[in-house]
Structure formats: structure tokens, C-alpha cells
């Protein structure tokens, strides 16, 4: 007799994002928020600096989220969230989770100082960077999160980005906060689990979510999940956690990493790359992967 298998729902059904938000088709950032809030629940207050999400939420007087939102200045996600947390505690609310939700520009670039300050003070906030790897909201300009080799409107094909992406996890882990993690919209159970876990930890928690952007990556909206998955499977964006800046843990071990070319070929922003340049990117990914394995003791 066949063994009966029962499916358990690991992702909460509660939806804190409503239809009618203003995200583009296939937006990884909208999906990331939807899943993150399933992990965090309604008793969450979010600070959103200038980024795609300041538009996605909807214009005044509308909002597509069921939680309170402070649309704050570009470079202030971490400092605003620090203030919100302190303010809530002083008015007797120590239960609400305070979330800073910023793009890569607001995290890797203009907001890095405030983020570093908050992490050093170990502010009791969850900082999430949903990373679409360029200033997408202003029309696809390069950020320090834009990967090596990519086209953007400020790194045109003839002068594509010559520098690798900033190692934000390394930077954050160096602050030794209690929790740092990467997450992907292609692995929703893992993503939700990480937000749930982060919610139960006190201090600064940093979660880096890769958020494919069809508009900026020149990819098909229906490939968003595929791309996010390939990013993990190629080792370009591995799923891992760092506790207290010291304990590195690989969440998804990949026996045979797929070639980076498979990830690149679905994106117009890498179309100009020649074989030798793709080989160079493969080398970059290989080196990054080896470094990570070493840190994780694998």
C-alpha cells in the first residue's frame, strides 16, 4: 500500500499586502515584501526610504500594506527605524517589530553610514535590503550593488560595470550583529523562516534579499523566480546565515553549481558580454563561492 503523504503549510496564509499596489510585472521586491510580512506578522512598523517601494506602496492617501509605514528620507532607513523603535518603547510598545526596508541604493550606497551606525549600536531593528542591483526607480543607474559586467544607463555597454558588487554581507558581518542572512524570492519557505527567526532575535538583524527586476535586468517578468533560483544554483547569490558575525552557515548546499552563463543569458543587461568576459565572471563567482565555503567550514 502506498504511504500517504501529508502536505504541511509552512508559509502563513495571512496576506498583509493588498492587490492594487504599483509594482511592475514580475517585481521581485513586491514578492519579497509579501513573504517577509508573512514571517513578521501585522505587529510590524516599517521605515521605507526612497526606493521602488516608496512607489509600490501607492500614492497618498492610499497604501497597499496592512502595517504602518513611515516613508523616510533616502539615507535614513536605519536611523529612522532606530528612532521609531526608541519612540515606540517610550510610549509603552515594546512588542512591535521595527523593520527598515530599503533598496540597494539606500543600503549599499547612500544609507550605508546610518546602517553601520545602527548595527554598531546594535539597534533592535530588522534591516532588509531588497537588492535589484541598480537604481531602478530612477531609471536603472548603477549602484555599488550592480554586478561586474552589467549594463545600466550609467554603465553603458561600451563601459559596462568594471567593478564587482560590494560585499554587503561581509560588511555587515564585520559589525558582529546577532543575525545576518541572505534570502531569495525563489525559496519562499527559507525566506519566511528567516524573517520568523529574525523576529525572535533582539538587536540588529540584516537580511539581504535578491529581488529580480525585469525592467532593469531586461528579463522576462515570467522569469523572475527562475532567475532568483538560478542566482542561488549558480552560487552567484548563495543562501546562508551569519550569527554574531562569526558563525557562518550555508543553508543550501549545492553539489553541482550551474554555470553562471545560464543565469546571465536570460538577462539583457549582460547580453553584450563575450565568452572571455563570461569566463571572467565565472571565475569571480567561483572565487566567491570558495571563500564562502571556507567561512562556513564546508
Amino acid at each position: 500500500m502506498k504511504k500517504e503523504r501529508k502536505m504541511t503549510l509552512t508559509i502563513p496564509q495571512e496576506e498583509l499586502i493588498s492587490t492594487g499596489h504599483l509594482a511592475c510585472q514580475g517585481c521581485g521586491a513586491a514578492l519579497a515584501m509579501r513573504l517577509a510580512l508573512k514571517g513578521l506578522g501585522q505587529r510590524t512598523a516599517v521605515c521605507i526610504p526612497a526606493c521602488c517601494w516608496s512607489v509600490i506602496d501607492g500614492p497618498f492617501p492610499h497604501s497597499s500594506l496592512g502595517i504602518p509605514i513611515y516613508h523616510c528620507a533616502f539615507e535614513t532607513a536605519a536611523s529612522s527605524a532606530s528612532g521609531v523603535k526608541a519612540g515606540l518603547e517610550m510610549v509603552g510598545d515594546s512588542e512591535t517589530t521595527v523593520l527598515a526596508w530599503a533598496g540597494d541604493g539606500g543600503t549599499f550606497d547612500i544609507g550605508l553610514q546610518a546602517l553601520s551606525g545602527a548595527a554598531e549600536r546594535n539597534e533592535d531593528i530588522i534591516y532588509t535590503c531588497y537588492d535589484n542591483e541598480a537604481y531602478m526607480n530612477t531609471g536603472i543607474q548603477r549602484s555599488s550593488a550592480t554586478p561586474l559586467g552589467a549594463w545600466t544607463t550609467t554603465t553603458p555597454v561600451k563601459h559596462y560595470k568594471k567593478h564587482p558588487k560590494k560585499d554587503i554581507i561581509g560588511i555587515m558581518a564585520a559589525h558582529r550583529p546577532p543575525y545576518v542572512a541572505t534570502a531569495s524570492v525563489a525559496y519562499p519557505e527559507d525566506l519566511v523562516k528567516k524573517f520568523k527567526k529574525a523576529k525572535e532575535i533582539k538587536g540588529t538583524r540584516f537580511i539581504h534579499v535578491l529581488a529580480p527586476c525585469p525592467v532593469g535586468w531586461k528579463s522576462r517578468p515570467e522569469d523572475t523566480i527562475k532567475l532568483a533560483r538560478l542566482a542561488v544554483q549558480t552560487g552567484y547569490f548563495p543562501l546562508y546565515e551569519v550569527e554574531d558575525g562569526e558563525k557562518w552557515m550555508l543553508n543550501l548546499k549545492i553539489k553541482e553549481r550551474k554555470p553562471i552563463a545560464e543565469y546571465l543569458k536570460l538577462q539583457g543587461r549582460f547580453r553584450h558580454l563575450k565568452d572571455d568576459e563570461i569566463a571572467m565572471l565565472q571565475k569571480e563567482v567561483d572565487a566567491q563561492w570558495e571563500r564562502l565555503l571556507k567561512k562556513c567550514g564546508v
Binding site: 501585522q42 505587529r43 510590524t44 512598523a45 521605515c47 516608496s54 512607489v55 506602496d57 501607492g58 500614492p59 497618498f60 492617501p61 492610499h62 497604501s63 500594506l65 496592512g66 502595517i67 504602518p68 509605514i69 513611515y70 516613508h71 523616510c72 528620507a73 539615507e75 535614513t76 536605519a78 536611523s79 529612522s80 527605524a81 532606530s82 528612532g83 521609531v84 523603535k85 526608541a86 519612540g87 515606540l88 518603547e89 517610550m90 510610549v91 510598545d93 512591535t96 553610514q113 546610518a114 553601520s116 551606525g117 554598531e120 549600536r121 539597534e123
Partner: protein, 384 residues
């Protein structure tokens, strides 16, 4: 209780007595003692507040705004370059109707590096939608902090309390520090009409189309227009409880004056000494010290200056390519309001050069000997 304290500590005591709940600040000379004392008060429990020791003034104001939106009473202090770094968020505070109260120690802007006083730092923030009070004594500083919280929280508009570097910030004076219970009776806890809470989730400061933005700014100005009357009313209420009146301006022998200095900050007290000396010589001089700069006390200034033949506005600041800023403001207040005095604009004391009795005498000599100014700006005490 009477205490001998420095101007900076008068700000700290004001914030303490106002039961500030969240402080976020970054050190800058000559503001440091404000936050040093507050951090001690937070550490030893004298003040039940959270002190966020941020990594920049920009983050200081950002954290204050977050805390204010969460419903907490917030305070910070800065100076000069720090205030300039906050500039973006000063607009955020007023536009978002977050009634933060901030001390700013007037310090000249670099380059070259200067730690000495002039008003270009705070006056460069004139159009950010903050109420601005300029103080001339440590007592006034302490009293103004408490009053500013009341005015700001009623109108949901932030306030800046301005002190001259060193001349006030580091000068020790006897200050009557009011009893906590009396301050509590004067200043109720902050209870904003809206706040950031999951109990009643709203989005604050989101994308605002031309359909709505204009009205939000109109409402901010309407709120600002209520400030002068509220400052008078609050000042009277404060006087009843504490015996000291605050108000929009300080008049010194203005009633029968034939010549009035218009001053701000500590220079206003030096001016009073010179006024006394002129009076002894039979010259009917007076001094109008402007305490409330934003919103500008149009009616007060008009009612006082319209009775005088000659006015000398003394500016420790400059709007490059125009005039001294108080001079601009006074002229704009008097425009089209006959009878009009002859108004002279003097600039002096930039970068902390002393404004002395002799400075005021030189200013008076010029104004009294001429039927009108011969220069757009009369520079006093500059090595040309």
C-alpha cells in the same frame, strides 16, 4: 531652585524638565555640553529617556523624526555644520508635522574653520518651516525650551532654539530652574493626533501628487500663522506660573524712542547698555530684540517701529548678494505700512568678532548723522 549654569546646560535642563523621551544627537563644538549633561541624566535616571548616540547629525534628526512619529517627545541639539547636514531633514520635520525641539548654537560656517558665533547657520534654515527663537540669556534659553515644546506640539511644527556660540553657550549665569511638578502642570505629555502604530496602520509621507501636496503646504503656513498669538498666550500662561514672560520680542525703552536698534541674541543685551548711555546723554534711543524670528513677528515689529524716525538693524549674518537677513525681514515687515522709519542695515561681528559697546556707538553715529544710508550694507568693524 537657583543654579549657576552655562547656556548649553540651560538647554539640557529645559529638555529634562520637559520630560523629553527620546534624544538623538551627535557632538559638535560648541554644542557638546548640551548632550553630555543629557547623557548623564539618562544614565543616572534623572531623565527617563532613550538617548540614541548616532553617527551623524543627519541620523540624529532622522532618529528624532522616527521617534516623534511613534509618539515620543524628542529633543536634539547641534550647531553650524551639523545643522547644515540636517538640512534635508529639517524640511522633513516640518513637512511631516513632527514637533521636534532642537537647540542650535550659532557658529559660523566653514571654510575657513570657525567655532565662533554668527547666525548664518540657523538663518540659512529660515525657509525650512521651523519656528525659530533667538535667546539672549541662560534663563531665557531654559524657559524657551519648555515653552517651545508646548507651542510646537499644539501646532505640530518643530522649533529651533538659538544661542550664540560662547557668548551664551559657555557663559555661566544664575538661572531659576523651575520645579518639575510645576513644569508638568504647564506642559502635559505629548499626545499627537496621529502616530505610527500597528493598532491603526497608516502610511506617512508617501508619494503625494499635485492633487494633494499644495494643500499640505498651505496647512503648514496656516499653522505657522498661528504661532505669534500662541507664543503670546503661552508666554502669559508661563508668566502666571513662573513669573517670567517670554513673548515674540523684547522692547527696551522703545515707547518714546527716536532711534531704535533692532538686534537679536546676546548683542541685544550689549545694545541695552549703549541705549542707557545714550539716554544719559539725552538721546532717546531704544532697543528692539527680536526673539521669535520664524514666523516673523510682523505685527509686533510694525507697531513698534512705525512710531520711530530711525531704525538701525544690526545683523550678525549676511545673505550674499542681498543684505543682512534681519534687515531684509524688517524692511519687508514695514513695506507699504506708513508711517515708515528710515531703516539702516548694518553687518557686523561675523565669525565671532566681538560686537561691543563701541560697535553700537559707531552704528548709532552713522545712523544719527545721516538722513538715509549711503550704502546698501553698512559694514561695521570690518577691515576693508
Amino acid at each position: 531652585m537657583k543654579k549657576v549654569i552655562m547656556g548649553n546646560h540651560a538647554l539640557s535642563y529645559g529638555a529634562m524638565l520637559s520630560r523629553t523621551q527620546v534624544i538623538a544627537a551627535y557632538p559638535i563644538t560648541p554644542q557638546t555640553q548640551v548632550v553630555e549633561l543629557l547623557s548623564e541624566m539618562c544614565a543616572d535616571g534623572t531623565l527617563n529617556a532613550k538617548f540614541i548616540k548616532v553617527e551623524s547629525e543627519h541620523s540624529a534628526m532622522a532618529a528624532c523624526l522616527g521617534a516623534s512619529l511613534a509618539g515620543a517627545r524628542t529633543f536634539t541639539a547641534t550647531s553650524s555644520q551639523g545643522l547644515a547636514l540636517m538640512h534635508e531633514l529639517l524640511h522633513w520635520a516640518s513637512g511631516g508635522r513632527m514637533p521636534v525641539v532642537m537647540g542650535n548654537i550659532n557658529r559660523a560656517m566653514a571654510p575657513g574653520w570657525s567655532i565662533w558665533t554668527d547666525q548664518n547657520d540657523s538663518l540659512s534654515q529660515r525657509d525650512t518651516g521651523w519656528i525659530q527663537f533667538y535667546c539672549a540669556s541662560n534663563q531665557e534659553v531654559l524657559d524657551t525650551v519648555i515653552q517651545a515644546f508646548k507651542v510646537s506640539e499644539k501646532l505640530m511644527i518643530p522649533s529651533m532654539i538659538v544661542l550664540d556660540a560662547f557668548a551664551l553657550s559657555h557663559t555661566y549665569e544664575v538661572v531659576e530652574v523651575p520645579d518639575q511638578e510645576k513644569v508638568d502642570a504647564f506642559l502635559p505629555p505629548f499626545n499627537p493626533p496621529f502616530r505610527l502604530t500597528p493598532d491603526d496602520p497608516h502610511a506617512f509621507g508617501g508619494l503625494t501628487s499635485p492633487e494633494h501636496y499644495f494643500e499640505l503646504r498651505y496647512k503648514l503656513q496656516k499653522g505657522m500663522e498661528k504661532v505669534p498669538a500662541l507664543v503670546e498666550e503661552t508666554g502669559k500662561e508661563y508668566q502666571k506660573m513662573f513669573g517670567r514672560y517670554l513673548g515674540q520680542v523684547e522692547e527696551y525703552l522703545c515707547d518714546d524712542a527716536e532711534f531704535i536698534f533692532v538686534t537679536s541674541g546676546t548683542a541685544g543685551y550689549t545694545a541695552r547698555v549703549v541705549v542707557d548711555e545714550f539716554r544719559e546723554k539725552g538721546i532717546k534711543a531704544g532697543n528692539l530684540r527680536i526673539k521669535l524670528f520664524r514666523p516673523f513677528p510682523f505685527e509686533k515689529v510694525r507697531s513698534i517701529l512705525s512710531k520711530v524716525p530711525k531704525v538701525a538693524v544690526v545683523d550678525r549674518n549676511i545673505s550674499y548678494g542681498h543684505h543682512g537677513i534681519f534687515y531684509q525681514e524688517v524692511k519687508s515687515a514695514m513695506y507699504g505700512q506708513p508711517p515708515q522709519p528710515v531703516i539702516f542695515g548694518f553687518i557686523t561681528g561675523l565669525g565671532g568678532r566681538d560686537i561691543t559697546r563701541d560697535t553700537f556707538k559707531e552704528i548709532a553715529d552713522y545712523a544719527l548723522s545721516k538722513s538715509q544710508a549711503e550704502e546698501e550694507i553698512v559694514w561695521t568693524g570690518v577691515k576693508k
